[in-house]
């Protein structure tokens, strides 16, 4: 008897499950994603719509995971009622991230002070260099860790009934991801490797063509717009995959931290 329905997922299985979810709903998710990438061209309202559609795809994926699939229109109603909260999540995470970058920047500048204070001597330079390296490494680790903890920040907002504001969602996701940060980082790396073929074709190769044309010639602008269109298309293709992965991560977190899969296994109960 297979017991794999009530067990937490391994790193590779999270990525595989995300892909299977995407494949089985390819048309729906892709249509939504293309809509999202058209909305992104419109400032403010469009960005809110873009964030909301991200949440919508994750909600649909999660509903499938817990065996209670939802129709797109039902899910969309729930999501649209919280439209601006989704933008709020994006801003909330973005501003905090920006703050961390600023902190790192100031820390790095502070490191250069010993060098100047000692009048440009070698000893000052050495201290400054070591401090610079240490602060840089610590700063990068802190930022990666920070972002990993908030990787699924918009999912509680999309899925849970009781959460209606952006900051509630961020708080809830931080609470859930407490001991899980390393796994999220591995999952992101593996998922990125899986998306590499598409990234290369729609993102990196057009950039290579871009470099070889002269600026401000007609060839340049046509290549520019073609590569812009291609990278938007590539983004639209990849986005549902990431949203599905977030839904699977969220499901896995709920299972480990709150026994969600044990509650769902109440067949006869």
């Amino acid at each position: 008897m297979s017991q794999s329905s009530i067990r937490p997922l391994s790193i590779g299985n999270v990525v595989s499950a995300g892909l299977v979810l995407y494949r089985s709903n390819l048309k729906t998710y892709l249509q939504l994603a293309i809509t999202a990438y058209l909305w992104i061209l419109l400032p403010i309202y469009g960005w809110a719509k873009y964030s909301a559609i991200n949440g919508l795809i994750s909600r649909l994926a999660f509903a499938e995971l817990i065996n209670k699939p939802e129709s797109v229109s039902t899910a969309r109603d729930r999501i649209d009622s919280r439209l601006w909260s989704f933008l709020g999540v994006g801003f909330g995470v973005g501003i905090r991230l920006f703050g961390l970058y600023l902190l790192l920047y100031f820390g790095l500048i502070l490191c250069l002070i010993p060098f100047f204070a000692l009048g440009g001597q070698a000893a000052g330079g050495l201290i400054a260099a070591i401090a610079f390296l240490v602060v840089l490494v610590v700063g990068i680790i802190a930022i990666v860790r920070f972002y990993s903890r908030r990787f699924v920040a918009e999912i509680p907002l999309a899925v849970e009934e009781g959460i209606a504001s952006g900051s509630d969602s961020i708080r809830r996701s931080s609470e859930l991801t407490k001991d899980y940060v390393g796994r999220i980082q591995y999952i992101v790396v593996v998922a990125f490797v899986v998306t590499l073929p598409i990234q290369i074709v729609t993102g990196y190769i057009p950039s290579i063509f871009q470099i070889r044309t002269e600026p401000n010639s007609t060839a340049y602008w046509t290549v520019y717009f073609i590569s812009l269109g291609l990278s938007l298309l590539g983004g639209a293709i990849i986005m549902p995959f990431w949203q599905a992965i977030k839904a699977v991560i969220y499901y896995d977190l709920r299972s480990r931290r709150e026994g969600l899969d044990l509650q769902l296994g109440d067949r006869r109960f």
Partner: protein, 259 residues
Amino acid sequence: MRFFNRVTLQTPESVELEFTLAGIGNRAFAVLIDYIVLSLTLTMFWIVWGILSIQIVNSFDNVNNIGLWLLAIALLLNFFVYVGYFVFFEVIWQGQTPGKRYAKIRVIRDDGRRVSIQQATLRALLRPIDDTLFIGAFLIILGSREKRLGDIVAGTIVIQEEYVVAALNFPISQQAQKLATDLPQMANLSLLLPDDFAAIREYLQRRGEMTSKARSELSLKMARQVRSAIDLANLPEGLTADVFLEAVYLAYQQQSSTS
């Protein structure tokens, strides 16, 4: 879970074995680890070779093009190390490389037998095409048996290692042990399904990782459901849900091992 492909193989002795296919996530993870280990090994090789070459070129400067020869030999050795890494480990560890070991997947033949050196070599030789042009990734994602070019040619598949139900090591309180001896008389344990027993065991195993709020809610809910399932009318005083579930687990285990 219907998210993972299961496949049934027939062995030469006409026994049917069922496996779960590895899935693109696990395979990508494994190959990533393998390439990292391989890159470190090859980097060290090139550093050592570089130092050696400088010495050799200096002492043999009368030989024509010795630098070029050394480079050619190095490239050949590079290729052998690359192929040899995968062949060596897949044969020695019966279908696993260090990366596959970490991701808990394994290469086996189409009929369920272990891979031998022929399959391992064929897979490894086709790896450059599969990996650099991402053909392998596409074939794995789209195929029903998740075979990349190397798998198709060598007749192998890659499966997940089955979860071994090893000795479970969660603590069981004294109170629960005492209650477990009384339970068979107080209630009808045979009404408990194996699936329910599995759910109780999973809960007991994993409760340490759960948040305390969720844990108490879940244990209460499960305890109530178990109680009604086994027809238990009266609970002893001062019993927590956790202890009750432990007792049910023990009693069911004892009952099924004696019957």
